[in-house]
């Protein structure tokens, strides 16, 4: 893809200097934001995979146990996402590199809004679905959540479909998000990916 001279040319370019200035002037994400990002990436990924797995199982006591754990984890993740959103609102993300095209920048912002929306909407649809199917959600068997909708088998089926569709959308957005991060790192060679990695050295 690149000629042998390409890296040298890149290091000498105005674009690289602009990025160096940008990196030196702009902070990374806060440690808390980085921790939230990776914790939720792993936990949400696990909950999504676990959800699809449990959905495919035949009815059994262990399936019921797993479904309940999935709900409890979902409620916990919903609360963590709320905390994360609160953190994000009070601690603005570092700006995007100035080299980014305005449309790409818009795309990045929209996809982040989409990710936050899905991280909140997915557990909410799960909660509503549980109510519609006739099962109140009781967090860890201890804290009962209100039933926002009454028992309605048809609504339960529609909410299950919605829950599933939103999960596929989340998977698609996460793939896009990861691809964009890798593009920033390996093609644009900016700090967009690095600033979300756990800090190796003191800032």
């Amino acid at each position: 893809m690149c000629s042998p001279a390409a890296p040298a040319r890149f290091l000498a370019s105005r674009r690289f200097k602009l990025q160096l200035d940008f990196v030196s002037q702009n902070p990374r994400y806060t440690h808390t934001a980085v921790a939230f990002h990776w914790l939720l990436a792993v936990a949400l990924g696990g909950a999504v995979i676990f959800g699809f797995y449990v959905h495919g199982l035949h009815m059994s006591p262990s399936r019921i146990r797993m479904v309940n754990w999935h709900k409890w984890v979902g409620v916990t993740l919903f609360l963590l996402v709320l905390l994360r959103l609160l953190w994000r609102v009070t601690h603005p993300a570092p700006p995007l590199p100035p080299t980014m095209h305005p449309l790409v920048r818009l795309g990045a912002n929209l996809s982040h809004i989409g990710l936050y929306f899905l991280m909140l909407a997915i557990p909410v649809t799960g909660w509503l679905m549980s109510s519609a199917k006739g099962f109140r959600t009781v967090w860890f068997g201890l804290v009962p959540l209100p039933n926002l909708v009454g028992r309605d088998a048809q609504l339960g089926i529609r909410l299950l479909e919605l829950h599933e569709t939103l999960n596929w959308l989340l998977i698609a957005l996460v793939v896009l998000h990861s691809a964009a991060a890798l593009k920033h790192h390996f093609i644009d060679r900016d700090d967009v990916l690095v600033r979300m990695l756990p800090a190796r050295t003191k800032q």
Binding site: S60, P61, I64, N68, G134, F135, V138, R151
Partner: protein, 190 residues
């Protein structure tokens, strides 16, 4: 029951007694459409309610001669609503109610005892899925002229009746006690 209801009912009884009309009436027709049999169980700490829509009863109950009362109740198990579509798919199966081999749950009273103040204690045999056990059910009774209402509640352990066998015998998922609540409306037939 509210205090005013009690007073109202008390005054009717007093009036009837004063006018020399016998308060004795044999309540012997159960109005199934106005009666209700429901149950409650817990699944991993989550309370779930269900019920039966089809049942029939033979009743003979005179509040002044409670000891002579008798009730026989048949519940069509295929009419069960276990509180959720998933549960309704499972419950007719062999490990649960096995409705194909045991379509009816039956209760037959053996003795009725008056506990005073419109409270009675009914003992009898409950048979479900080929298992028979004696149960004791506290019942309250209220009547207005020609209509009487019985309210009661009791609980049994599902394992005693083989409800939820095999892997479902795991009581940490679906708990053992099943709470049954009923309202039976009866009229005094001619």
């Amino acid at each position: 029951m509210t205090l005013s209801h009690n007073l109202w009912f008390g005054s009717i009884v007093a009036l009837a007694a004063a006018s020399g009309v016998a308060t004795a009436a044999d309540f012997n027709v159960v109005e199934v459409t106005q009666s209700k049999i429901s149950f409650h169980y817990t699944e991993m700490g989550v309370g779930i309610g269900g019920g039966f829509s089809k049942f029939s009863a033979q009743l003979s109950f005179d509040p002044t001669k409670a000891e002579a009362a008798h009730i026989s109740l048949d519940v069509q198990l295929s009419s069960v609503d276990a509180g959720a579509a998933e549960a309704n798919e499972e419950i007719p199966g062999k490990e649960w109610l096995d409705t194909q081999h045991f379509p009816v749950a039956h209760f037959e009273s053996v003795a009725v005892k008056s506990l005073g103040a419109d409270k009675f204690q009914v003992t009898g045999n409950l048979s479900i899925k080929g298992h028979v056990h004696a149960i004791t059910v506290p019942v309250s009774f209220a009547s207005r002229v020609n209509q009487g209402q019985f309210d009661g509640s009791f609980s049994f352990n599902r394992i005693d009746y083989g409800i939820g066998e095999g892997e479902w015998a795991d009581l940490s998922v679906i708990a053992n006690p099943i709470q049954v609540t009923f309202k039976l409306l009866a009229t005094a037939g001619k």
